[in-house]
């Protein structure tokens, strides 16, 4: 059986604006029905990539297919995709209903079908009763729903969302995250959304593509991206992490800068410079004397470093320690610890399990 046609295939696409390379030779396949996030800091090229799929920017080179059809140079009105724009771009001179009907009118859908589909879309985003209002009379969350309905009423094959939740406040954003996920399952079409918020990307999407400076660095499930970053940038951008420079000593062993040997799953040749990513929540902190009595440094399931507490941040549900260990500072995040936090200046040992170590070979 032939594999199903992917929703979007981006093949060696580059976009230049004058001398600036906004998107540099990206290749990416997004499957039908997938909830895909393009994640990266501002200026990384994620929005340009989305705009090229929409047809609002044309690629300088490369091939772009939507369900097998080459669309790289097609104008936006000839593509089976619709966009939910950043800040929504609702037409201020039209009512909610006129906004939602716009795409259907442009495609000359007949009257009865148009009103039926519009009603459906309005019901889907729960805007019944607001049809005759202007966008300026709606709250941010309501405008967001109009933008969604305006795009989805056209039954696009792919829905593109450009920072769809960026303009909403935190609480509404979390609500809309759930709603968008549910909506995507309900309509069953491919959603591609652009965000700079890594938590949002982790919470909502099935797969994430991380971009930086025009390059697509890594594509994978939220778990793959978080637990097995393949580059320093990804490790650092997704959540918080401790990046420790190291050198491969032998298969399965790394030498840290202070000479300490630690265990890690590693296949790179001896002498290669690598980095170790250790998530703060995977690091335990013990007062030195106590750990010595337990014989922790010899723990066969993990490794440890000695250091001194340089800073303590109390967050209520967690305590964040900065531990100075030789040339590096290690951040440890303890959740659910009862009792008095350790004090600044205390001698401690930080330790972790072997499974917590992610080695970055770039």
């Amino acid at each position: 059986m032939a594999a199903p046609t992917p929703a979007v295939e981006i093949d060696g696409v580059t976009k230049r604006f004058g001398d600036v390379v906004a998107v540099d030779d990206i290749t990416l396949t997004i499957d039908d029905g997938e909830f895909f996030a393009l994640l990266g800091p501002s200026g990384c090229g994620k929005t340009t990539t989305l705009r090229m799929i929409a047809g609002l920017d044309l690629p300088s080179s490369g091939s772009l297919r939507i369900f097998g059809d080459e669309v790289g140079m097609a104008p936006p009105d000839r593509r089976p995709v619709n966009t939910v724009f950043q800040a929504y771009a609702l037409f201020p001179h039209m009512t909610v209903r006129q906004n939602i009907e716009f795409g259907l009118r442009m495609r000359r859908v007949n009257k009865s079908e148009m009103s039926q589909r519009t009603e459906q879309a309005i019901a889907m985003v729960r805007l019944a009763g607001m049809e005759e209002r202007r966008p300026s009379q709606l709250s941010g969350g309501q405008q967001q729903r109009v933008a969604l309905a305006r795009a989805l009423v056209n039954q696009p094959k792919v829905l593109l969302l450009d920072e769809p939740l960026g303009a909403l406040d935190l609480k509404l954003r979390q609500e809309m995250q759930q709603e968008l996920k549910a909506l995507q399952q309900q309509v069953g079409i491919t959603f591609i959304f652009v965000t700079h918020d890594q938590e949002e990307a982790l919470a909502m999407s099935e797969r994430i593509g991380v971009m930086s400076q025009g390059h697509l660095l890594q594509v994978g499930s939220p778990r793959e991206i978080y637990e097995h970053p393949t580059s320093r940038f990804v490790a650092d951008f997704i959540g918080r992490t401790n990046l420790i420079e190291a050198e491969v000593e032998s298969a399965g062993t790394l030498r840290l800068q202070n000479g300490k040997l630690i265990a890690a799953g590693i296949s790179a040749p001896s002498g290669a410079a690598v980095a170790v990513s250790l998530r703060p929540e995977h690091i335990r902190v013990h007062p030195r004397d106590a750990s010595a009595s337990r014989g922790d440094p010899g723990d066969p399931g993990g490794d440890s470093l000695d250091g001194t507490i340089a800073d303590v941040t109390y967050l209520g549900h967690a305590v964040v320690y900065s531990v100075a260990a030789g040339p590096t500072t290690i951040e440890a995040r303890r959740e659910g610890d009862l009792g008095e936090p350790l004090a600044v200046g205390a001698s401690v040992t930080v330790s972790w399990d072997h499974g917590a170590v992610a080695v970055i070979e770039d």
Binding site: P75, P76, A87, E132, N154
Partner: protein, 332 residues
């Protein structure tokens, strides 16, 4: 927090001082306008009810509305129609020529926009009379345009002292007044909305008609008012380029005060012209601010305006008010 009576008194004193200062700032303009605008306008109004004696003098004793009655004369009605038609034609041509140009300027990079705007303004800085005489030379039977046409075998053309020449001159004179408000509206246009239209299956032309044009409506209205009003009463351009054959309201009024020595008729026409313009401007203003919220009229829904991000509709209606309150250029 309860305030002491002294504090409240201080607040009132400050408010009074603020009002005094405001009046002081407005005083020079107010005095100037009173002397050179309100007083002459009052005199014109008074004259319009006066009587023309047989000798052509104006008698200020026998008040009547004869002057207003003679506005209904066939000749006068014809002149008003001709002036209205010419002003409409001028406005339409300015819009058709000016819109694409304003669109072009507004979509250039910021640095280039400034240069193009200066270029638009340059003719405007030159003496108006000089410019009109230049056109007269250009269009004259011995002028460059005619010579060129003759050498190309089309024969000499005679458009000077025709309505065509007047229209050319008027469009040239008033084009700037159309381009500037259109530019302001287009410059404030949120182009993401045009992109959204393209994304929703509108081709380029449809996106323009359905989104860009309605959203720049304020600029179109302002530009049309700024061109129509002065061109309706214009005097210099038709006089120099149109000769005596194409008599327009402006020239006709001037004649009444000079050669014809019928001041009451000239005054009455002036008053009617002013009233008509005021009504036109008021109607425009009303439809301009009404269209955006036409559905809300009579509804008791709370109006919630979102601050910040996308208040384009609001800001454009603001610009409308700004442009409209600019003093209309005096008819040349």
């Amino acid at each position: 927090m309860p305030r002491s009576p002294e504090a409240r008194g201080g607040e009132e004193a400050a408010a009074r001082a603020g009002r005094r200062q405001g009046m002081l700032l407005a005083a020079p303009a107010a005095v100037y306008l009173l002397i050179f605008f309100v007083v002459p306008l009052g005199l014109i109004t008074v004259y319009s009810f006066a009587t023309r004696t047989v000798t052509g003098r104006t008698s200020l004793s026998d008040w009547n509305i004869d002057a207003y009655r003679s506005v209904g004369d066939e000749i006068v009605v014809g002149i008003i129609w001709r002036s209205g038609w010419l002003a409409t034609l001028t406005t339409a041509l300015c819009l058709v020529i000016g819109y694409p140009f304003a669109y072009y300027i507004a979509t250039r990079p910021r640095s280039l926009r400034a240069i193009l705007l200066v270029l638009v303004m340059i003719p405007f800085w030159t003496n108006g009379l000089v410019r009109v005489y230049a056109i007269r030379f250009l269009l004259g039977s011995n002028g460059p345009a005619s010579t060129l046409s003759e050498s190309l075998g089309f024969g000499a053309f005679r458009i000077l002292f025709t309505p065509t020449a007047v229209t050319i001159g008027m469009v040239y004179t008033f084009l700037t007044f159309m381009v500037l408000p259109l530019y302001v509206a287009l410059e404030r246009m949120d182009w993401r909305l045009a992109e959204a239209a393209r994304d929703l299956y509108a081709n380029g032309a449809k996106a323009f008609w359905k989104v860009t044009l309605p959203l720049t409506r304020s600029g179109i209205v302002a530009g049309c008012v700024l061109v129509f009003v002065p061109s309706f009463g214009s005097y210099v351009v038709p006089d120099i380029l149109g000769g005596a054959k194409t008599l327009l309201v402006g020239s006709y009024i001037a004649q009444q005060f000079s050669d014809a020595r019928n001041r009451p008729l000239g005054a009455a026409l002036s008053v009617l012209l002013i009233v008509a313009m005021l009504i036109a401007v008021a109607l425009n203003q009303r439809s301009g601010s009404g269209a955006e919220n036409s559905d809300d009229a009579g509804s008791d829904r709370p109006r919630r305006r979102r601050r910040g991000a996308d208040t384009d509709a609001d800001s454009s209606s603001g610009s409308e008010a700004e442009t409209r309150t600019e003093p209309a250029p005096a008819g040349l």
